[in-house]
């Protein structure tokens, strides 16, 4: 088994685990983390795809996609955390 296929399989496994977590957990923080892990899994799949054909140069397009995806994931996570914190503070204010 070459490295690329290994990356793809590990990525798929990570995405599947995270998918399960996203649906089985109720707390928004856990679901946000699940989404992050799912994102990492998908990025690994993309990196695997970049050198699916051994002996050729790695394809730069999936790398560019992963970089963009990471930026999106970081900002979305930060935004989700801000929302969560605001909600938590509101909750404390009420009780």
């Amino acid at each position: 088994m070459n490295m690329a296929l290994w990356f793809t399989l590990v990525g798929a496994a990570l995405a599947a685990i995270a998918l399960h977590a996203f649906f089985s957990r109720r707390h928004p923080l856990r679901r946000l983390i699940a989404l992050n892990i799912m994102g990492s899994g998908i990025f690994l799949v993309l990196i695997g795809l970049a050198r699916l054909y051994p002996g050729t140069l790695p394809d730069p397009v999936p790398h560019a996609m992963v970089l963009t995806g990471i930026v999106v994931a970081v900002s979305a996570t930060a935004f989700g955390l801000v929302l969560l914190r605001r909600l938590a503070r509101l909750g404390r204010g009420e009780t």
Binding site: L35, G39, V45, L49, M65, G80, L83, L87
Partner: protein, 486 residues
């Protein structure tokens, strides 16, 4: 300006404006935002005119040709959706500042952040309508989703934040599925460009799995039943101008992308029964959304559930895959965009003027707010699909397609959906019109300013006019019909 430059500026200008609006002093933001709206809307309408005159326009950014470069492409469908966004944005630019000023007596500084976020949203919408490749569309989806969530959160109260968080999680989940599908497609074909993919895709397991993932992702974002559950809370708890943007425009963007992916990439290789499933879900959405809308007691929730129902119509095209239904579906996206924006703004006005949103307490409200309830009725005409509105023209085209194909369940659903729409819109008007003969209620000061009442009226009138001028969008569309349907 070179027509190709228009495409680039339509994406770039709102982004630059959004960045500028974030740092601009709060006192300047309204004027700056209105000026920016005028600029962006003129560009969009100019582009629509260019496409009408000279046909589709394509531009390879930085002269890098696909598959390596990014292509922006404006065909009839993009031109119509860009024009719809511009036509909603213009009245909104007059309404939103007035609404936030009135609303803010009790609330936070939401109005100051409305403009930059809305400009980001606008940039994302334009990007989605112009994207010529799947990954660029992914960036548009994410930008649109994040801006939409932030706009919902502007509501500030607990319900709005909870709805925003749920919306965020589902939107992210949807785009993850979409990205995984795109990755599979890229692995199979080595290209991301829509046209190139359509030319070379083969009907194997990888492409079927990709289609399934992409479709699921986009269905979550478009809130087709059974993925609609996040929509009513998010759309109903957002500030009224935001609800108009979300219900009128944002859900349409992911639908347009789905439409392109199905009919430009996958339709040529044959989809089997998958389209039937989407069509059946569309029917289910029409029925379930309408029944829920009838049960609502809060006016904005009623309008939001009506969106769930009306989105169902859009998906009938996947089962009735013929040119007539395609045109009907696009026309429905346009007329619903205008009518629903009008209805949400009017609903926001009612809540603002009366201080509550209970439908059963609307008794006599039409006497106090005649213009706003006239807007509700006018927008309702288009939602129910009565002639001569845009909603009528759209449903008529779909009906004709369904009859031509002999698909009777669809005929029943299209007609029945209009009756159901009457079922949730008439009680609203009945409550408001009851007791308006009481002369004492006609006295007193004007409850809402002109800036609040006329923009929604304009939107509702546009939705009505769309039916009378349906030939204009049709001629734009005929040039951009997907090859697979011709």
């Amino acid at each position: 300006m070179n027509p190709a430059d228009l495409l680039v500026w339509l994406v770039l200008l709102p982004v630059l404006l959004a960045a500028l609006l974030f740092v601009a002093p709060e006192g300047w933001r309204t004027r700056l935002g209105q000026l920016g709206t005028l600029l962006c809307a003129s560009l969009a309408l100019l582009l629509a005119w260019q496409v009408l005159q000279h046909g589709p326009i394509s531009v390879a950014l930085g002269n890098w040709q696909p598959p390596l470069g990014i292509r922006l492409h404006a065909d009839g469908l993009s031109a119509l959706m860009l024009a719809l966004t511009a036509l909603v944005a213009l009245p909104l630019a007059a309404h939103a500042p007035a609404w936030f000023v009135r609303h803010e007596a009790a609330q936070s500084r939401a109005g100051a952040f409305f403009w930059p976020l809305w400009m980001f949203q606008w940039a994302a919408l334009n990007l989605l309508f112009l994207a010529g490749d799947l990954f660029n569309a992914y960036v548009g989806l994410e930008l649109s989703g994040l801006a939409a969530v932030a706009l919902v959160a502007l509501g500030g109260q607990r319900a709005a934040l909870e709805a925003a968080l749920r919306y965020l999680l589902l939107a992210l989940f949807g785009s993850m599925l979409y990205l995984l599908g795109v990755a599979l497609l890229y692995g199979a074909g080595g290209v991301l460009d829509l046209t190139l993919l359509g030319a070379q895709l083969e009907a194997d397991h990888a492409s079927r799995a990709a289609l399934l993932l992409i479709t699921l992702g986009l269905l979550i974002k478009t809130a087709l039943l059974p993925f609609h559950f996040w929509l009513p809370a998010a759309h109903a708890n957002a500030p009224a101008p935001v609800s108009a943007i979300l219900s009128g425009l944002v859900v349409k963007a992911s639908f347009v992308l789905l439409l392109r992916i199905w009919f430009e990439i996958f339709h040529p290789i044959g989809l089997g029964g998958a389209g039937e499933v989407l069509g059946a879900l569309g029917i289910a959405a029409i029925i379930w959304g309408s029944l829920q809308a009838m049960r609502q007691e809060r006016i904005k929730l009623l309008v939001a559930w009506s969106t769930v129902a009306q989105l169902g119509y859009l998906f009938l095209i996947f089962a009735l895959a013929v040119e007539l239904a395609w045109a009907g579906s696009v026309l429905h996206a346009l007329s619903h965009g205008l009518a629903k924006a009008a209805l949400f703004l009017a609903a926001g006005n009612i809540v603002l003027a009366l201080g509550h949103d209970q439908i059963h307490r609307l008794h006599g409200a039409a006497g106090k707010l005649p213009l706003t309830f006239f807007t509700v009725a006018l927008a309702g005409v288009s939602l129910m699909g009565l002639p001569p509105s845009g909603g009528f023209a759209a449903k008529w085209l779909m009906l004709q397609a369904a009859i031509d194909l002999g698909r009777w369940p669809y005929v029943v659903a299209i007609i029945g959906g209009s009756l159901l729409a009457a079922g949730y819109l008439f009680p609203l008007l009945r409550h408001a019109l009851a007791g308006t003969h009481d002369p004492r209620q006609r006295e007193g000061e004007r409850l809402l300013s002109r800036w609040l009442e006329f923009p929604p009226l304009l939107l509702a009138t546009l939705a009505l006019l769309l039916g009378l001028m349906a030939l204009l969008p049709m001629s734009l569309l005929s040039g951009g019909m997907p090859v697979s349907l011709r």
